[in-house]
């Protein structure tokens, strides 16, 4: 026991050591002279006839019953768990989680000084407010975990400073984090609007309204001037559709009798939206559509691997030659078909990119429904034009504010420490239960 105490340089809750008094008192009390248990018996004469009867009073003083011993050990383990032993050489380190709001409003300009050159963004301003606090935490040896909520899932990085790539707006518009789920001790919110967390901290940039483009329709751009929405014909920003793979054909060229080339449909959709066709992916690209390479299907067909499948959704139906290996199964599948081998993904969609496993339709029923269905898909997955930010994102969001978060409950390495406390508490509960059971058995006769 002395060696154990000597190896420990710290206790999470030193006052918990006072709890050792309880098992000590119980042990001392148990060692004192106890009156033996009195039991009525009709066979006393047998006990009287026994030879070698031992004077029991002296033994009563020395022996602690097993059930009481278990309870004493349980209380000792509980006292240890309460005190929270920490192994030597491992200082108490905390994990601080910084949740970064990556919604479009965070990347709007937020001037710090009127005469500043390139005004920083609201994000940069909020980070500046949080900097002293985070530097203090780093100096204490704590760990900083940077987190943001991407559409595909949470991204986290352990770093002394925010990853540089996070300082630029994501190409797609990300929603705000689910704040209520992140209201925990040890969490600092980096955002532009004031909120009311109970346990998390806040670094709020605030900021005045930032008028600017809010949307496009065809070639018309809509701007917000702070009070009204203005329609500016012919001033929509350049947007491009990039179609990769497939066979390049003229717009009205058809392959076989009744065949419909997807590329043709895509080009019609883009023209309707005022989107031009791009020859490569660049900053103006709002949607990339990937078709199977022109040689892939013929190669697969000659190898007997391409399938002619029937499929449909949204009140249209079609047949097509499909490369079953073009898309792997997984999340984001928008259209799939079934064959003898199971499900075959045909269309996978994500923000800014749509992948297809077929290039042309051999037969189509429900032309209008097909057009509506695919237009909805393409519109939904298209990225916003560069510079467009929704009006609610551009609105003013009050003054700046900073509030430190509550301290976290344990350190990252202290997940092992908290589990040590938990093991000790579990051991205490087990020992006490055993002692209780033995004690009841002793008296329930």
């Amino acid at each position: 026991m002395d060696a154990l105490f000597a190896s420990l340089t710290s206790w999470a809750r030193p006052l918990g050591l006072l709890a050792f008094a309880l098992p000590l008192v119980l042990a001392l009390r148990a060692r004192l002279r106890r009156r033996p248990l009195a039991r009525a018996s009709g066979t006393l004469r047998l006990w009287s006839e026994l030879a070698g009867e031992v004077e029991a009073r002296s033994r009563a003083r020395r022996k602690i019953p097993a059930h009481l011993l278990l309870k004493i050990l349980a209380l000792a383990a509980g006292a240890l768990a309460l005190a929270g032993p920490r192994p030597a050489g491992q200082p108490e380190r905390a994990l601080w989680r910084v949740l970064v709001d990556a919604s479009p409003s965070m990347f709007l300009p937020r001037p710090v000084h009127p005469d500043a050159g390139q005004p920083p963004t609201r994000l940069a301003h909020a980070l500046e407010l949080a900097r002293p606090f985070l530097e203090q935490r780093r100096a204490a040896g704590d760990t900083i975990l940077w987190t943001r909520h991407a559409p595909a899932g949470e991204e986290s990085v352990v770093s002394d400073s925010i990853p540089k790539s996070w300082l630029s707006a994501p190409r797609a518009s990300w929603p705000e984090p689910v704040w209520s789920a992140a209201d925990r001790p040890g969490t600092l919110w980096i955002t532009d609007k004031r909120r009311q967390p109970e346990r998390a901290g806040l670094a709020v940039s605030g900021g005045a309204a930032v008028p600017g483009p809010i949307g496009v329709q065809g070639t018309t751009r809509f701007d917000w001037d702070g009070q009204r929405i203005l329609a500016l014909a012919g001033q929509a920003p350049a947007r491009e559709l990039f179609v990769s793979g497939g066979t390049a054909l003229a717009l009205d060229e058809r392959g076989g009798e009744g065949e419909i080339r997807l590329r043709s449909f895509l080009e019609l959709w883009a023209a309707e939206r005022g989107i031009s066709l791009g020859s490569e992916r660049n900053a103006r690209t709002v949607l990339e559509v990937s078709l199977p390479p022109s040689t892939a299907l013929s190669t697969a067909r000659s190898a007997g691997q391409s399938l002619e499948l029937a499929f449909g959704r949204d009140a249209w139906w079609a047949r097509a030659l499909v490369d079953p290996r073009a898309l792997a199964p997984g999340v984001g599948v928008w259209l799939e078909a079934r064959d003898s081998g199971g499900r075959v993904p045909l269309v996978r969609a994500a923000r800014g990119r749509v992948e297809l496993a077929f290039e042309r339709l051999l037969e189509l029923r429900g032309d209008a429904a097909f057009a509506v269905s695919w237009a909805k898909l393409l519109d939904g997955e298209s990225l916003s034009a560069p510079g467009l930010v929704a009006v609610e994102e551009r609105a003013a969001c009050g003054p700046a504010h900073f509030a430190a978060p509550q301290a976290p409950s344990s350190s990252p390495a202290g997940t092992s420490n908290s589990s040590l406390d938990a093991w000790l508490a579990g051991l205490a509960a087990l020992l006490y239960t055993l002692g209780l059971g033995l004690g009841r058995r002793a008296t329930a006769v």
Binding site: R34, R35, P36, L37, A38, R39, A40, S41, G42, T43, L44, R45, L46, W47, S48, E49, L50, A51, G52, E53, V54, E55, A56, R57, R59, A60, K63, P65, A66, H67, L438, R441, A442, T443, A444, V445
Partner: protein, 306 residues
């Protein structure tokens, strides 16, 4: 049965189960036991068993002949008259008067389960079986509060069973030397053909009861001990010191329940039971020793060798 935590500070050792409380389903269990023993009795009819009804034979009627039976049992007159085979059914003559002695001295309050509780259940079971066999049963219980130090009740029909249960419920373990007092009181009832004694039999020696033997009378001694008397090694944790208190004499002995003491006790108990078996066997008396943890049904069935 509720138990009370024995007091460590008091010099008293309160009796764990001094009274009798019949469970709610006791009447149903009595009936079930009786039916089972009736079935066993019918199987023994004419087969030479004296288990249920004592000595003597009585013609009770006819039943159809079953293939394979001894043809000497056929009633040839009936066969000639009816052209169908029947056999005569003989019933061993019931002993018409039974007596059941119940020791309710203070030591019978030891438990749990209480010895008096179990003994009272056994007495009720024996009475029920006796009534079904057509016997009249006298129940004698030791009672220190009466002048004769015994209380009695006579049951003649099954309608008297309710009175019997009330009588037994009113008993409370007390007094000393219950078996001796009962033996003394039973000597006056000379017409009893079958005599049962239920108690712990630690306040009497087997020879003291041999005076109850009569020609044509069957004697059955049923000894009931509490689990902590039957097997203290299992009932109490080892290593604990225990102050044993005789509830009748007040005598005390303190013993540490170490392994040697427990083994010595087991040998001593075994020796005493062996002595009882030998003595009762010599006099043709049936002797059974049970823990009160066993059910009354088991004890009654063994008493009638069913």
């Amino acid at each position: 049965m509720p138990w009370r935590r024995p007091s460590r500070r008091s010099t008293e050792a309160p009796l764990q189960a001094p009274g009798v409380v019949f469970p709610a389903d006791f009447a149903r269990r009595l009936e079930a036991l009786d039916l089972r023993l009736i079935g066993a009795r019918e199987r023994c009819e004419g087969a030479g068993s004296a288990a249920f009804l004592g000595v003597g034979e009585e013609f009770v009627g006819y039943r159809p002949y079953r293939p394979g039976e001894d043809l000497r049992r056929l009633d040839w007159n009936l066969l000639a008259r009816l052209d169908r085979p029947f056999v005569r059914v003989m019933r061993r003559e019931a002993a018409q008067h039974w007596a059941v002695l119940l020791d309710a001295s203070a030591s019978m309050g030891v438990g749990p389960p209480g010895k008096l509780q179990r003994a009272a259940e056994v007495v009720a079971g024996i009475c029920r079986v006796g009534l079904s066999a057509g016997a009249e049963v006298l129940v004698l219980a030791s009672d220190p509060d009466t002048a004769r130090r015994t209380a009695s009740l006579r049951v003649r029909t099954k309608r008297d069973l309710a009175r019997l249960l009330s009588f037994l419920c009113a008993l409370r373990a007390g007094g000393a030397s219950g078996s001796r007092q009962l033996a003394e009181a039973a000597r006056a009832h000379t017409q009893v053909g079958r005599l049962f004694l239920c108690g712990d039999l630690f306040d009497v020696e087997p020879e003291e009861l041999s005076g109850l033997a009569r020609r044509g009378r069957e004697l059955v001694w049923i000894q009931i001990l509490a689990p902590l008397e039957w097997d203290p090694a299992r009932a109490l944790p080892g290593g604990e010191a225990v102050e044993w208190v005789d509830p009748e004499s007040g005598e005390r002995r303190t013993t540490a329940l170490g392994q040697p003491a427990l083994e010595a006790y087991a040998r001593a108990l075994e020796g005493r039971l062996a002595a009882w078996h030998q003595s009762t066997a010599r006099h043709g008396i049936a002797f059974h020793s049970w823990s009160s943890a066993r059910s009354f049904e088991d004890i009654v069935r063994a008493a009638f060798r069913a």
